[in-house]
Structure formats: structure tokens, C-alpha cells
């Protein structure tokens, strides 16, 4: 249990996937202009990342490893993630329209969210067992969501703040992300 807690806290705060590992920055800057979209994106990432973490772990250990073809891991994983994302999108759209409304439009964005592939690969590299892999995936996604929502909250304030023309938009966004990352540094001593 202690180990699981460490894994969760480590993934959310200390090695935050966005701010410390730099995974998933394109959507981070893209959809963080409004709180509403940020929350939707965060939800979608938690959903897909957990699912993808589980499936890729199974594929690695029951398909790639037995045949000794771990070298096509990247290849297999990305294809699986793309298929999974598209499948989930199609499924939600038809079957659970309410959830699709909330998450659906963010799903396609996740295919090229490197956080998903990144976490899947980290799961394998770190040699997690299935349970750990799922926990780590979910926690990483939660960390992503946390940073995204915090960032969107800050960014909404930019609308009424005077920013030098040259760094308006993405520029100030990046600098702010830097400060957010700095504040996340403070969690380093937690464990």
C-alpha cells in the first residue's frame, strides 16, 4: 500500500508528467486557454491513459516479450493507442452521448498526446507489474489533469492582463508554465 501511495504521489506531484517530464505539452498549451476545455481534456486523458496503460502492458507481456520482439514496441503501442482512441471515440459517440459531449471532442487530441505513449513506455521500462502500471498510468494522467487545470486557471487571467505584444499567447503561456513547474519543485521533498 505504501508503495502504491509513493507511486501515486510521485507521479502526480514529484515527477509530474507535464512539468517535470515534458510529456503532453502540445495539448497543454493548446487547450488551456479556457477552464472548461481544460477540465474536459483532463477527464479524457485520465480515461484513455489508464485504459492505454493497461492494454499496452498486456500486449508487451503477452505478445511482444514472448516472441522477443520488444524492439517494435513503439510501433505496436502507437498503433494500439491510435486504434483505441478512435474506438473509444466511436463507441462513446454512439452509446454514451452524454459522456461523449464531455470528453469526446478531446479524444482525438490524445492520439498525438505524447503523454500516452510516454507513460506506456515508462510502464514497461520501469518493469511495473500490471497493477502498478495501471496505478501509475492513472496517477500520471491525474498529474497531467492537475497541471492543466491549474494552468488554465492562471491563463484565464491573462485576458485582462497587459502582456508585452511579443510574448502574448504562447510566449507568456510558456513562461507561466515554467513558474508552475518551479512551484511543483516544492513537492520534491514529500517522499
Amino acid at each position: 500500500m505504501n508503495h502504491t501511495m509513493e507511486l501515486v504521489i510521485g507521479a502526480i506531484f514529484i515527477n509530474n508528467i507535464l512539468l517535470a517530464k515534458f510529456l503532453g505539452n502540445c495539448p497543454f498549451l493548446g487547450v488551456s486557454k479556457k477552464m472548461e476545455t481544460a477540465v474536459g481534456m483532463a477527464g479524457a486523458v485520465v480515461f484513455v491513459l489508464t485504459l492505454a496503460g493497461m492494454i499496452t502492458w498486456l500486449v508487451e507481456h503477452y505478445l511482444l516479450a514472448p516472441f522477443g520482439i520488444e524492439y517494435i514496441r513503439t510501433m505496436a503501442f502507437i498503433l494500439i493507442i491510435a486504434t483505441l482512441v478512435q474506438f473509444v471515440e466511436l463507441f462513446l459517440r454512439k452509446s454514451i452521448p452524454a459522456l461523449y459531449q464531455a470528453l469526446g471532442i478531446f479524444l482525438p487530441l490524445i492520439t498525438t498526446n505524447c503523454a500516452v505513449l510516454g507513460v506506456a513506455i515508462i510502464n514497461i521500462q520501469e518493469g511495473y507489474d500490471l497493477f502498478d502500471a495501471i496505478v501509475f498510468s492513472a496517477a500520471s494522467a491525474a498529474g497531467f489533469g492537475l497541471a492543466l487545470v491549474l494552468f488554465a486557471g492562471i491563463r484565464e487571467r491573462f485576458e485582462t492582463i497587459r502582456v508585452p505584444k511579443q510574448i502574448e499567447g504562447t510566449g507568456i503561456g510558456l513562461v507561466t508554465a515554467g513558474l508552475l513547474a518551479l512551484s511543483f519543485f516544492a513537492f520534491k521533498g514529500m517522499i
Binding site: 495539448p27 493548446g30 505478445l63 517494435i72 505496436a76 454512439k94
Partner: protein, 713 residues
Amino acid sequence: MGISALVMLGIGLGAAAILAVAARVFYVKVDPRITATEDALPGANCGGCGYAGCASCAEAIVAGKAPVDACIAGGPEVAIQVAAIMGTEIGVAEPRTANHFCTGGDRAERKFHYEGALDCRALFDLHGGDLRCKVGCFGLATCVRACPFDAIVMGPEGYPEVSAEKCTGCGTCERVCPTKVIQVFKLSDRLMHFNNDHECLPPCRQLCPAQIDIPSYIDLATKGQYAEAVDVIKERNPLPLICGRVCPAPCEAGCRRVAIGDEPVHHNYIKRFVADWEMHHPQAPPVISPETGKTVAVIGGGPCGLSAAYYLRRLGHRPVIFDAKPALGGMARYGIPEYRLPKKTLDFEIDEILDLGVEVRCNQQMGRDFTIADLESEFDATLLAMGAWDNSSLRCEGEDLDGVWKGTEFLQKRELGIKVDLSGKRVVVVGGGNTAMDACRSSLRMGAGEVTLLYRRTRKEMPANQVEIDAAEHEGVKYHLLAAPKRLIGDEKGKLTQIEYIKMELGEPDASGRRRPVAIEGSNTLMDVDVVIAAIGQRPLKDWYTKDLEERGLKLTRWNTIEADEKTLQSDVPHIFTAGDLWSGPALLIDAIGTGRRVARSIQRFLLGLDLGFPEGTFVGPQKLAVSNLVPVLGVGPRVRVSQPELQVADRIKNFEEVDLVVSPESMRDEALRCMRCGTLCYFNDEQRDAHLSGRPLRKKVGELLQNSPTLR
């Protein structure tokens, strides 16, 4: 090597199979434009556009929320493709420009005494409020600095002015403005805007059936910006020359001057002044949105049809006006006599509209010269606006006698070139409306020896414009009030000789609030007469209502008007719309103009496949907000209303020269300065509304603000 290839093959096949099955099982129909746009977009799902993925970006583009060049990863090629799908071109797309535009709330009244931070946003964050300004602007030019195209400068009034040529509608100014007084909108949004209850609406603007932004044009007129003032009027009313002359100005009823015991501001002096000025100083035609390729048949070239055609044209559609008469103008031409509205002026105003690219087919009568099927084959939508030309019957014996005329038929004779000689004749006009007044005054000008007006109620109840009633009296019309015709008596040749009328008295108020006239038994009186003109009311004709229209499901009410949605004016046949008198029954010219613009909006949305409904809180017609009158007006005293210059009675009575003259620029300005700038000096801010609703006293005395105003003291 073999295994890796096999596994990849397996995964590839599996992925294809899952997706193929899923695509079939979970198939959901979507707007083909969304699919097409999505196909055109890169599919990189990078999020650079601010939307979550290419699919949602495509949805936003099709929904009009995102520009066609929203995609960052795709670059210009993709933007061109998307523009083609959306049926626009980049750069040719309808220009969006920024404007300061107060929509009320707590923003319109702020006064700052802070000199530290020189940025609107800083002030807003630090203090929240208190700048007094016409549009709720802090005036620190943050938007000017923010504009990437240098399209904004600070005007002499202390708030930003936008150059329409330079503005690209990028929206930067809107984003930086903390009070959102500067907003970016498209021409069509602006033209098709209707009053909304969250806006800061002065009472005159609430009451104007066309919803003209009266304080704005008055303000522009005081500054000598006459062309701009006309532009403001024409955003709501394309016929200022006509309205400036004949509109009874229902807006004046709400004027806050009345609340302080003064006469209302005479909007029409100002409107007519700027419109006349524009007639003599031709301006560039207004901006027209990109062509949509849609055509609309406008049946009836009266004020309503002209108004609808004008707005449809400015929105980029191609309206064609059909009119049964040889010339356009409808009641404005054939119902309003020359001395009130010179035909030269009317022609100028109509030509201005036609010059925008509106086609006209005159002498074409619905049901006689063309059918609805003809229209359906040629046009995307049809507007029926033929007005109300049928005169109500007097419902008394002898109506068929020679010498008994109907009001509108009499009035149009002169315009149709039919000579009428009334020299020395005794004329009795029955009715109390404007048609009756016009008939009286026209009869005088045609040489009538004696003109008597018969009206069954008192002068107070007359629906005609007060100025008309007075003018007719000045010109020598005799008023025979509280009298109703009972019988028309003719000689053996069928020629009218006498009218028998009965005296009336006022009883209990009826549904319309006017006291019901009751006949006094036995008071029948005979009067010698040569001509009786019945002008007791009109209703739409029915001759156009042919079987094919009935078969299509178009329904008429028992007043011969068309049954249509109260707000959108769409009839039961989706592509047929109606407006003006044909929908409302006889009403004011300005009502017809207002419904003309309203129906143009509905047709526009119908043509674009959008929902016809209005946003919540919209007022489609005149509607007085109860709260408008509640705030006391301190510190403002009466100020004499400028009187209308007119021809001397002797000079005008024998001809059809225009009676009312245009006021001088000085008088116009004097009158314009009487305006208390309601709504721009906002008396209805959130705080005051809350105070009113909760019964608390107001924090601020409006009078204090007004005392500081040079125009109001």
C-alpha cells in the same frame, strides 16, 4: 524478422478490423460539411487552434465559432480548402470590425479618480468601477495599444474610434477590454441585432418599432457627423427621409423629458435633418456582405418590402421586388399625399435602395401576373408584404352611391394621374385616422369648398398624428366630432346628395381602452354633401390568395392577414414569410419598416439553414421596460422644444407643396441637445436595478452626474 512482420501484420489487421466494425456499429450521422472540413484539416490534433482536436475545430468552423483559417498546422493551403467547403473565400469573407458598443449592465457608469496605473485592466482589477463615459469606457487606450493593425485611435471624446478600413476583426481589442465596451462583430450581426433585455436601452429605443439607436444618431448629429448619423439610422431603418417626415414617433412617448414635465425630444427633426443633408450630399453606398447567391422574391414594394429588400441585399442576397402598381413605395407613395411627402424625396430614397442591386418588377400582381409556383421555381424564399389596401365598409345604407369614395382609393388617384375636381364641393370625410386627415387636407388642396370631418369619438381619441389633426384644423377643416354616419342619401340618378348622421356620447371604455361611443337615440341629423370619403380603416385585400397558396397550407386570419409565427414571421409554409400590414393589419409605417428588418433576419437565417429563433430576452418589436422610468431625474430642467417650421396656410392650401420644412442646423442642434442621453448616461445599471428591486436607496444620485454634463445643464 518473420515474427515481427507477422505480429505487425496481425496488429495492423486487428486495428483495421476493429475500426471497420466500430465505424459501422457506432455510425452516427454528422453534418457533411463537418466531415469535409475535418478531412481538409491536417488531423495532427495538435491543439494549436485552441480547440480539442481537428474534429472539434471542424465543428467549430462549421458552427461559425472559429474562422476558416483557424488551423495552425495546416497553413494557408488548408485554410483555402476549408473556405471552399464553407462557401467563402479568405479575405473576401464578411469583414468583422470592432466598435465600442454599450450593452448596459454595470459598465456604463464608472468614474475614476485614480492616476497611478495607466491601463484599463489595472484599473478594473484594482477598483472595479466608476468612470463616467458615454460607452462605459475607461479611456486609457489599452485597446489602442493592443491593436496589431493600428486601427484604433483615441477620439476627442476620450473613447476609442475604430477605422473600418484598417480593422481586420481580429478581436484583440475585445480581449483586452475589461469592460467589453469594444466588441467585434460582423456587419450582418449588427444589422440583424434586436434589442435584448440585458442591454442598456433608453426608453425611446425600447419604444421605436424599428429599434433605431436614437441616442447614438442624435449624438452624432450634435457633433455634425451627419453621414454617420444616417448610417446609424439605416442600420435599423432604410427610409429616414420618409420617416423623418411622416413618422408619428411612438418613441417620443417614452422620452424622459416627459417625465420631468417637458415636451419630448423631437426625434424627427433630427432624423429628417440628417437624412435631407445626406440627400444633398451623396455618400458612398453602404458595405454589402459577400454575395450568397440566394434570391428572394419580395411581393409588395411598400415600406415593408423596401426595408426587407434593403437588409436582404446588404446581407448579400439578391431580392427582387414585385409590385402591382407602376411605381414602388406602396402606401408611402399612394397613401401619403405629396404635401407631406414629396414624391421626389420618396423616389430618391427608393432609388438609393435599388442602387444596391435590388431588382424591381412593377405592374406585376400576385395571382394575376404570376403564381406562387413561378416564384418557387425562381426564388429561394418569398416574402409577402402587400400591405392593407382594402377599405372597411361604412356599414350603412347608400354606400354604392356616386360620390361615396374610399379613403385610400381617393388618395392614390392623384398619384395614378386620375384627375379629381372638387372645386367648390362639400366634402365629408368619415374617420379619425391619418388616412382621414390626408383625405381632408388633400380635398382642400383639390379645391373643395368645405371639408368636414365626421368622427364618432372626441378629438382626444383620434388615432391620427396630433400634428396632422392640428394642421388640418389650421387649414380650415371642420371637425364634427361625436357623430357617426347612419345613412347616405342620393337622388334618382344615384348621385349622393345628403348624409344622415347620428350623434354619439362616450360610454364605458372598450378593449382598446378608448371609451366606447354610444349612439344617442333620436339625434339623427341630415347634412347636404357632394362627396363622402370613407376612411374608417383598412384591411388587406384577398385577391392574391389563390387556391395554390391554400393548398400549400398558407392560412389567413379573419382579418385577411396571414397567419405566421409571431416572432419570426414565417408562415406555415416554411419558405413563405410575411411582414408589414399584411401580417399585422393596418399599422404605422415605422412598424412596417421594423417588421421588414425582422423578416429579413428570418429569411437570412432560413436561407443559411440556421434556427430562426431569437436569443433569450430579445424584444422583436417595441416593448417598454418597466424599470426605464423608475430613476428620478434630478438637476435637469425643461428646455423649450424647437418648433416645426412650416409653410403659411395661405401658401399651402391650394397646392401640394411640402408643408413641413426642414429645420436649420442650429435649431436641429438645439433640439438634439435636449436629448438626455438615456442609456448612454446609464440610469439602469446593475447596482441601481438591484437597489430598485430590493427597495434600497440609490447609492449615487443620477442628478449629480447630469449636472456635470455640458449638454444637459
